[in-house]
């Protein structure tokens, strides 16, 4: 008997994926024939226990035999199939499949698009809801419509990601391979958390500046903001080693911020220029310090930009070798190996760019007094949040 109502299981509407219920009762479906699915090369595992949508890579498993097909659950909302009875042996088969899927999962961590294997959906149907398949043709039709729904979901997901929304991947303890530690999604979530903490610190700083608290107390708050900046650079450094292209893309920032992106982050010289008028009054020595800082950060940025241009050109050159049809595999692999090495250099450039940003902030903090630093951090933070607000307004604009 089908214990749970399908409606209850799609409680996870905050992700926006309300069509989940349709897919829940399939245990193992081979969609390798789906061309779209092959591109993604991932397995969608729908765990009824915590109503979370999880993506794990999956090796191709063959479920060709007729008897196995008959044990697959069919509870789909078309009214065509009825849940006749609980097939105990099928439950056992089911849990076996579940176990296998978990084992394979540990081999491929964190790789949504990895693997050269055909895509596959494995549904951990913990309650083992199944019944006999009445009509094979209609069943296949059901598979097809579910495949279409899945494609649609994937497109939604892609679109949502591109719009800078954060998808909560509903992590439970043992699914850290998707969320925790490293990787693009993990960094996105870390950044979101960092931003919340940052806003809180800035609000504290703002009220402190407005209430004119003594300098030594203000210094504590300013130091807190400074070390919080160190924290994001630390997180970026870890994420860069894991996914340099994601960090270079700036997809974790809002669209307007991304417009001003320079090697995976803000331009120090721009920030200093923006600060320029808001720091007065400055002593002559401070003014000299700020001007020199602006000049040296500009020079460093130019140098790194030129290095990046050279790197991109050399990457193009590497990938442009030998387009003739008689090129052998050895040459191809050799060129690919060289190209891979250049991506390591790309990581290095991103690391240097982040260092530049961090060191500029630190030097600024060194030059200014406590009160001036507080004001500077407030201005920088307000500027960034205005960019984010602009992005939100733009995304919410009425489209005609």
């Amino acid at each position: 008997m089908n214990k749970k109502n399908r409606g209850d299981e799609t409680g996870r509407n905050d992700t926006g994926f309300t069509d989940l219920g349709e897919l829940q009762h399939y245990d193992a479906v081979d969609l390798s024939r789906s061309s779209v699915y092959n591109e993604r090369n991932a397995a969608v595992v729908i765990n009824n226990n915590n109503n979370a949508l999880q993506f794990r890579p999956h090796h191709h498993m063959n479920f060709g035999s007729g008897t196995e097909m008959s044990s697959i659950g069919t509870g789909v909302d078309t009214g065509q199939f009825m849940m006749h009875h609980h097939n105990k042996s099928a439950i056992a088969d089911n849990s076996q499949q579940t176990d296998t899927s978990t084992d394979i999962d540990t081999d491929d961590k964190n790789q949504f698009n990895s693997g050269q294997h055909g895509g596959q959906i494995v549904v951990d149907s913990m309650e083992g809801s199944m019944g006999k398949i009445g009509d094979p043709k209609a069943y296949v039709q059901q598979l097809e419509s579910s495949r279409i729904k899945l494609t649609h979901l994937e497109q939604e997901l892609k679109r949502a990601r591109q719009q800078g929304m954060f998808i909560a991947a509903g992590a439970s303890g043992d699914h850290n391979s998707v969320v925790g530690g490293n990787g693009a999604l993990a960094f996105d979530m870390d950044y979101s958390r960092w931003l919340d903490d940052h806003q809180r610190l800035i609000n504290d700083l703002r009220s402190a500046v407005n209430t004119q608290i003594p300098d030594n107390e203000l210094r504590i708050l300013v130091e807190a903001v400074m070390s919080h900046y160190d924290e994001i650079f630390r997180l970026k450094s870890i994420a860069t080693k894991s996914d340099v292209f994601h960090m270079l893309s700036g997809m974790w920032k809002t669209p307007a911020e991304r417009c001003f992106l320079w090697i995976g982050g803000f331009r120090s010289s721009e920030i200093l220029k923006m600060l320029g008028n808001h720091l007065e009054p400055l002593t002559d020595q401070q003014l000299m310090g700020i001007c020199n800082l602006q000049q040296s950060s500009q020079q460093a940025e130019d140098a790194l930009s030129q290095g990046m241009e050279a790197l991109q050109q050399s990457l193009v050159d590497t990938l442009s070798v030998g387009f003739t049809s008689s090129g052998n595999v050895g040459d191809y692999m050799g060129q690919m190996a060289i190209a891979m090495g250049k991506i390591t250099t790309l990581e290095n450039f991103l690391h240097q760019a982040d260092l530049l940003r961090q060191q500029t902030l630190q030097q600024l903090h060194r030059i200014l007094t406590t009160r001036q630093s507080a004001r500077a951090f407030l201005v920088i933070s307000d500027y960034m949040s205005r960019l984010r607000a602009l992005s939100s307004l733009w995304l919410a604009r009425p489209k005609d």
């Binding site: 320029g276 001007c291 030129q306 060194r366």
Partner: protein, 167 residues
């Protein structure tokens, strides 16, 4: 151009030190004010060269893949720095500054330019700040989105950032 004549080894035995990569590095480093050890394909080395050119400095560059003892010098530099990448490495006035992160860091915190001046390089820098000078400086750096870059492959010795037009 002045440079510090700091001799690291007061007595050179012809055969033993001639093939020692570290000694060769030290000797080359002490011969010029700014010495960069590089590899010809290395893009980070390109960036560091552009950094010095952008400051108006003309560094002496040794491409280790074209140097005799190049491979050994690379290994020696890796040991010296303690990092994975042997290049780029910068010496100023015969003293080791470091790899890209150190060089950039010292430029940002203001210690690189004094070091360069000490080594005899002519660096354009604001020295006195009277009102008119400050105004000129601010106009120049707030109105310009990027500093002029030398177009030639080998950079000229001095880039003209002349601000002395208000005298």
């Amino acid at each position: 151009m002045h440079y510090q004549t700091q001799s690291w080894s007061t007595y050179l035995t012809p055969t033993t030190t001639l093939n020692d990569p570290l000694h060769r590095i030290e000797r080359l480093a002490s011969e010029n004010a700014v010495v960069i050890f590089s590899l010809s394909g290395c893009c980070m080395c390109h960036a560091i060269k552009r950094l010095f050119c952008g400051m108006g400095v003309n560094p002496t560059v040794y491409e280790l893949d074209h140097e005799p003892l190049g491979k050994e010098m690379e290994k020696a530099l890796m040991r010296l720095l303690g990092t994975g990448s042997p290049v780029p490495v910068v010496f100023v006035g015969g003293k080791l500054v470091g790899a890209m992160d150190r060089v950039m860091g010292s430029h940002i915190n203001g210690t690189l330019v004094p070091l360069l001046k000490e080594a005899g390089e002519d660096i354009e820098e604001e020295e006195d700040f009277d009102g008119l000078n400050v105004l000129a400086y601010l106009i120049k750096y707030n109105g310009v989105s990027s500093l002029p870059r030398p177009k030639a492959k080998c950079c000229p010795n001095v880039i003209d950032y002349s601000t002395k037009n208000n005298e």
